[in-house]
Symmetry: C2
Subunit: 180 residues, 2 copies
């Protein structure tokens, strides 16, 4: 990437803008040398249906970053509205660190042997095919190898707080030409 | 990326799983040879604060794909709850095509000369620094050059419908140890 040329005011405006971009909340997890590592992210993004693939941006400083890059395998666990406490634990907002974070909720193991959080909207087993440089972050391009879907209301992160859509009705549709 | 090995059932499970991943809705836009092009996406993802950067996955078949890759410049317009009709127009859900899509709402021009949708939560001017191969999609790694933030309630896409968080209270926080 190009040299850093951003000013403090641009960074602050960018930070404020990105706070307003709502995102579904996921915990990504892996197991490396017998220990489990996990991280809360809002940076999972569907990439392609052919082949099933997704993109995840992960901070290089995150404890789970290096284990994920070494194993090239991770699970994506899409959190439900009732899993805010898990999001907080794996987001570093509570005191648990490292593998102890996994004690807070019920986890099982996928067919591929990856940590799978119980009670999620969905669990996806992924193979990291490419790791692109995003300076402070790595951009993981992942092939999805297995998916299990349960459904339910989602946990959404927006303006530095957790929300759900459970109580929100869909926005009423406008007929074309009605304007926004 | 590796050869396509996914089965139909994996693709269908992946599709269902990704439907459950909530996403903030954006319209990305550019101008190329005097014509404006735009596209609704839920694939904008904050990458790094240093430098301010984000990732966007764009379908190669989208009309705006090639103009964006040629100009290497685009605006990201983060939609508010009141902009569902714009999301539908630029998502190809209505009859408008090409530059005619821009007639549905009020647009202005950013300092960098990019199309800027009025009434958004935020508008970001971006330079496309790298384009990574995502098979059916391109993964745009973008440096953010300017940001304008207005705020408001977000438009969220989930389970193939538009929602907002405006009416939804934040999820009540659990004390650590309460369980999910």
């Amino acid at each position: 990437m190009a040299p850093e040329i951003a000013t403090d005011s641009l960074r602050e405006a960018f930070r404020r803008g990105m706070r307003g971009l709502a995102g579904g909340v996921c915990v990504i997890a892996t197991e490396y040398e017998g220990l489990r590592y996990g991280l809360t992210v809002t940076s999972v993004c569907s990439l392609s249906l052919r082949p099933p693939s997704l993109v995840i941006c992960v901070n290089r400083d995150a404890e789970a970053h290096d284990p994920i890059c070494r194993t090239r395998a991770l699970s994506v666990n899409v959190l439900s509205a009732s899993q805010q406490s898990t999001a907080r634990v794996f987001g570093g907002l509570e005191t648990e660190r490292g593998p102890l974070r996994f004690a807070e909720a019920d986890w099982t193991r996928s067919a591929a042997g990856l940590p799978a959080l119980i009670g999620c909207l969905s669990n996806l087993d992924c193979h990291v095919e490419e790791i692109a440089d995003g300076r402070t972050h790595s951009i993981l391009i992942c092939a999805v190898r297995a998916v299990s879907v349960d459904g339910g209301a989602p946990l959404v992160y927006w303006e530095r707080d957790f929300h759900t859509l459970a109580d929100a009705r869909p926005v009423a549709a406008h007929a074309p030409g009605d304007g926004p």
